[in-house]
Every structure is written in C-alpha cells, then in structure tokens.
C-alpha cells in the first residue's frame, strides 16, 4: 500500500514536471497564420535553452547558443560583447573571491510573436528574476528582455540580448521608498522619546 502510494506520487510528480517542461518549451500556441512556423518553433527552443542556461548560471551553455560576437546589455548598465567578455562578466558576478550574486534564477515569458527580417528575428518579453546577493540583499525583479537572433548554418543563435526594468517602479526603488517611510516614522517616535526624556530630566523639582 505504502509503495503504491509512493509510486502514485512519483507518477504525479513526473506528470507535473513533464507538463511544466512541455509548457515551457511550447509557451502560448504558435499561430500558423503568422507564417514561418518552423522558425518560430526553433526560436522558442533557443529561448528556452537561453532561459535555462541563465537560470542555472551556466555561462557555457548560454554561449553555445550565442554568436561569437554577441552583445549583452545587463541590468547594471554594463555591456558585454563577445564570449570572452560575457564569460568575464559572469565570473565577476558569481565566481571568484568576491562574487556579487550568490543565487539567481529567472522565469521568462514571450511578449508576442517574433518579427522576422529574412534570416534575422526580433523577439521580446518579460521575465521575473530572483536575486540573492552576497551582501544579504534578496529581491524579486519584474523585468523586460529583447533579443535579436540570426539563423546561421540552419541554426538560430542569439546576436544581442538586452535586459531592463521600469525606472519609476522597480523593487529597489520601492524598497527605498518604504525605507523612507519607516525611517521617518521611527525617527518621529525617537524624537518624541528624546523630548520626554529631556523634559523629565529638566523638570523643576
């Protein structure tokens, strides 16, 4: 009985995992009216590979699907061009004696159908990133991405990738605004306390 339950749980877990994987690979259904269905499928596979590589901070897997001269614009306003610079950026962020990022994961979504220009394509969408920095700061960031991909030797590769977020509404800004409120209220209470203590000390006997 116990083993049957265990087996059912395993099957359920595997089914859920398979369903999640299938959803991730397919995304919303491709509209055949848009044309280039095969290219769209291949692009989705490419974007899934990219998402997985970024999420697992596996830079070599990401570089496999990028052009040797690919350009990446990161959230911290740095631009890396070519495999060496991308590798160096990754190493600085997550490796070495003083890494900045402790843990990172991303979940990307397509924003709409890709635009094709011959053997080049533009795709875009949103992503939710979870950061855990080595200084203890953890946050979840809602962000946008766009990419230019190119078909070379029958294979789609990423030529450019750009990440950004909302300047006026993002987690760091909202944290800073919340801190301002908390600091103001805490300081007000501190001021009250200070005043009471001071008045008590200076009270005429």
């Amino acid at each position: 009985m116990k083993s049957m339950l265990h087996g059912s749980c395993m099957i359920l877990c595997l089914s859920l995992f398979a369903a999640a994987a299938a959803w991730s690979a397919s995304g919303p259904p491709i509209d055949p009216k848009l044309g280039r269905v095969e290219d769209r499928k291949q692009l989705r596979v490419l974007l899934d590979q990219m998402e997985k590589a970024i999420s697992e901070t596996d830079v070599e897997a990401a570089l496999k699907v990028m052009l040797p001269d690919a350009v990446v614009t990161w959230q911290n306003a740095e631009v890396s061009r070519g495999h060496e610079q991308i590798r160096a950026y990754h190493a600085r962020m997550v490796k070495g004696s003083a890494p900045i990022v402790k843990k990172y994961s991303t979940k990307a979504a397509l924003g709409g159908p890709a635009m094709f220009y011959g053997d080049s394509a533009v795709a875009y969408g949103t992503h939710v990133d979870t950061y855990e920095l080595t200084d203890g700061l953890s946050f979840t960031l809602n962000a946008n991405w766009s990419t230019t991909a190119v078909k070379a030797d029958g294979q789609w590769k990423v030529a450019a990738l750009h990440f950004s977020t909302n300047l006026f509404d993002n987690v760091l800004l909202n944290n800073a605004k919340r801190t301002a409120w908390i600091a103001g209220i805490a300081a007000f209470l501190g001021g009250l306390l200070l005043a009471f203590v001071l008045m008590r000390l200076t009270r005429r006997k």
Binding site: T73, V79, G111, M115
Partner: protein, 199 residues
Amino acid sequence: MIRLLNPAALVGALVACAVAHAGAEHRKAAAELVRELERASNERDAAGLMRRAAAGVVMVSKNGEIVVGREAVADYVQRMIGASAALKAMRSRVRLEGEPLSLGERFMVTYGTSDDRYEFASGLELQIVTLWSAALVREAGEWQIAAIHYSFNLFDNPVLAAARRAAHWSAAGGLAAGFGVGIAFCWFRRRWLTQGRTK
C-alpha cells in the same frame, strides 16, 4: 602569387573585403541614423522620430513598457515626447559604442549610450545615462529601426538616489518633528498641571 591565384584564398579575400565594406557602410548608416534620431528627439519632433521605424518595430522603454508596431510606437512617442504637457524640455546626447554587429547585408545590431536631461513642468529635473541597443534593417534602400531597447543602471540611477536621499531627509524631518511635538506636549501638560494646582 600562387596563394593569390588559389581560388579558395581569392574567395576568402573577397569575402573579407565584402565584410569590411559592409562593416564600414553599416557604421556610417548607424551613425547617420543616430544623429537623425538625436536631432528629432531634441526638437521633440515625434514624426521625425518615427520616420525610420519599421512597420513591426518593437520598443522597450525605460518606464517598462513594451510597445509593438509603428502606430503604437507613434502614439507612445506623441504621448511622451510630442504632446506631453508634463515634459517642459528634453536634451539628449546620443553616442554609438563599439562597432555595429553586421548580420548580413541588410541587418545589424548597434548599441550605445545617451546622456539625457529631462525638465518637467513640475520643476523636477532628471539627468540620466541611458543605455540603448537597436536592431536595424535595410528596407527599400533605407535603414530602419526593427527594435530599440532603452535601459539604465538599476542599482545606480538618479531616481533611486533621490529615493535614498528622501530616506535621510525623512529620518531627519521625523526626528525634528517628533522632538518638537514631544517638547510641546510636555510643556503644555506641565503648564496645565501647574494651573490646576494654583486653582
């Protein structure tokens, strides 16, 4: 000489020449496009900004919007730059960084930065370094924008700096206000108690 006559070497040399030529041409075209956009932006010329947008243009803005298609982008540009009463003035100095990445004869990726200064009707001024990347496509002999993405430094930007400064001011103001209210309350309370005793 023998090497030059080798067909493979000759083809290789021709391809290298073609790539170099495409690179130089792409660089010139990207620089021209950037100057045109900079001028249109500084003159708040929404129509000028849209003149080089491809039909399916994708724009990702600094305020987190993703706008797709020439009409939608034109609406956005008109709303934000052309007809915005909230924006009093703006000035951009756009720079290309690095060589454009040529993807064939009629497609390239180019990127750079721009020093932007916005002056709002409310009196607020915002100076920010914007990062941009663009995918350009040559259609009917003219380079057009297939995609443009704007971003900024998430961890170090003037809006975040202002919010952090506000936290300091808030703390200082809160302390002063709390102290003031506390002193006033104690003083009035003491006075009220003293009056009560004398009566």
